[in-house]
Structures are given as structure tokens and as C-alpha cells.
Amino acid sequence: MNYKVALVFCGSLAFASLAFATPATDAEFAEFKKQGATKFSAEQGKQNWTREVASPEGDKRSCTTCHDADLTKPGKHAKTKKVIDPMAPSVNPERFTDQKKIEKWFKRNCEWTWGRECTAQEKGDFLKFLTGAN
């Protein structure tokens, strides 16, 4: 019995170590906390990922306008139709390895999609959701 418990414990440890983290994501989370964000929620990030906001041009936009709802699948730029590589680091290990790049795309994409920059809390929730995707 004890043996089994230990096994399950080890298994869950191994699983937990699969959660994706890079120096870039560590630095991002630290920065968001410095800006006043507290606990980061993958669940909240997931909800925000599909949240639709009306644009000044009259269309409705969400992250999934260009990225796929399934993070392991590629997306497509709404206007140029250029393929966007999957967001999930499990299938695209290059994701979230460059802090400057993460910030660049948060800034651009939050503004295009929601018409404003995202807060530190929102960015943290997104990052938690995206890095946990398998």
C-alpha cells in the first residue's frame, strides 16, 4: 500500500516537472508580480483566450481569431492568412523562450484584440494557461 502511494506520488512529481518553464517565463511571472499581480490562474487564462470583444471595425475578436482554441494546432493570421505555429510548448518548444518576444506579442495582440494593453494579471493568467498546455 505504502509502495503504491509512493509510486503515485513519484508519478505526480514527474508529471509536475513537465510543466513548461524557461528563464523567460520565470522573468515574466516575476515582473507581473512586481506590477501587483498575485495568483496566476490557468483557468482564467483559458476563459480570456476565447473571450470575444467587439472591435471598432465592427467584427468580434478573440485570441482564437488567429490562434486555434486547441493550442497544439497551428493558427492563421486573420488578415494575411499566414500560418501561426502552435502556442503549446509541448509541440512547439521555441515558444516562451524569449522575454522580449513574449512582451512584443502581448502588446500587439492585446491591443488588436481587446483594443487595449493587457494588465499584468491578465498576461500572467495567459502565460500560465499557455505554458501548461499539452
Binding site: 493570421h77 499566414k82 512584443k104 500587439r108
Partner: protein, 186 residues
């Protein structure tokens, strides 16, 4: 005397060559000189950062497709904040690098044939923001029916160069490299 004349001519020729080379964008003159078969289109992009920054959203249009005045208008912080309806902000260092590359290789500074034509077509008119607004580009596509471009689900617009120009990335736009999706026999 004849020897001197030959010498003078040779020196003159050499200095002309060197002079025009230094007036051109860096090493491009020499690669242009060495590769005659490529001179028909525009110079391919040789800057990784330019390719990455521009190419992450759309075909990385070569600087030689527009004159410097156009790039000057397009590549400012304000212009990029509303880049044909998209938010394409770049940090200052990146924007400076992209802009420098575009300006150093713009149509007015290139020997490539298509760039020369584009330069001629945009001289004396207000610098266009869109490559598709350049008269010579419009004229070249004029005879292609709308159903093959605008109403073609795999093309949609003249803006997607590489939808039909199979060697667009190399700066080659010759007719025999064109393949229009869904119209194999055109």
C-alpha cells in the same frame, strides 16, 4: 601614347565601377554583377531580422519593391501602430534596424530591373504605401481576370505575392515562375 591611353581607359573604367559600387547598397552591386540571371526581379532579402520581423505576419516584401520615400512613411512608430489596420509596434532598436535595411535597399538604390521600373513609376508621384498601388505592378496584373485573384479562395488579393509567384522569396517574379492556384493552365 597608345599604352597610356589604354591605361587611362582602364583606370577610368575601374573608377567608374568602384564609384557606382560605393554608391550602391553595400555589397549588392557585386552580387548583382555576378548573378545576371537574377537581375530581372528585385534583390532578395539578406537580413535575418528583416525577414523575421516582417515575415512573421506576411510575405516579407523586399525593400526593392518600393522607393525609399515609401519606406520612410511606412516605418515610423506611429505608422506601424496602425499598419494597414494591424498593430505592428516594434521597439526602437528593432525598428531602426529594419528601417535602415529598407532604406539602404529600396527601389531607388537597386540595379535590379523590377526595382528600376518601380523607381521610374514612382518618380514625381506621391510615394505609395502599397506595392499594389505602384502603376507598373498594377499594369502587369491588369489582364488577369478577377476570378483568378480576388475571387480565388487561395489567392484573395494581389498583396499575397507568393500565392502565385513561386519564387517570390528569392525576388524572382518572372512569368514562367507563376502558378495560379486552381488555374493550372493559365
Amino acid at each position: 601614347m597608345t599604352l597610356n591611353k589604354t591605361k587611362v581607359a582602364a583606370l577610368l573604367g575601374l573608377s567608374l565601377l568602384l564609384g557606382s559600387a560605393s554608391a550602391m547598397a553595400e555589397d549588392d552591386f557585386w552580387s548583382w554583377l555576378g548573378t545576371f540571371s537574377h537581375t530581372a526581379g528585385v534583390a532578395p532579402v539578406k537580413n535575418k531580422q528583416y525577414n523575421e520581423e516582417c515575415g512573421s505576419c506576411h510575405f516579407a516584401y523586399q525593400p526593392g519593391l518600393l522607393p525609399a520615400q515609401s519606406w520612410e512613411k511606412l516605418l515610423t512608430p506611429a505608422a506601424l501602430h496602425n499598419h494597414f489596420g494591424e498593430v505592428a509596434d516594434l521597439d526602437k532598436d528593432t525598428l531602426d534596424a529594419i528601417r535602415d535595411y529598407a532604406l539602404a535597399n529600396s527601389a531607388d538604390k537597386s540595379y535590379y530591373k523590377l526595382s528600376r521600373k518601380i523607381n521610374t513609376a514612382t518618380e514625381g508621384v506621391e510615394a505609395p504605401l502599397r506595392i499594389t498601388d505602384v502603376s507598373v505592378i498594377k499594369r502587369k496584373h491588369h489582364s488577369i481576370p478577377e476570378k483568378m485573384i480576388k475571387d480565388n479562395k487561395d489567392v484573395k488579393s494581389l498583396s499575397y505575392c507568393n500565392a502565385c509567384h513561386t519564387k517570390a522569396e528569392q525576388g524572382v517574379f518572372k512569368e514562367d515562375t507563376v502558378s495560379i492556384p486552381n488555374y493550372p493552365d493559365y
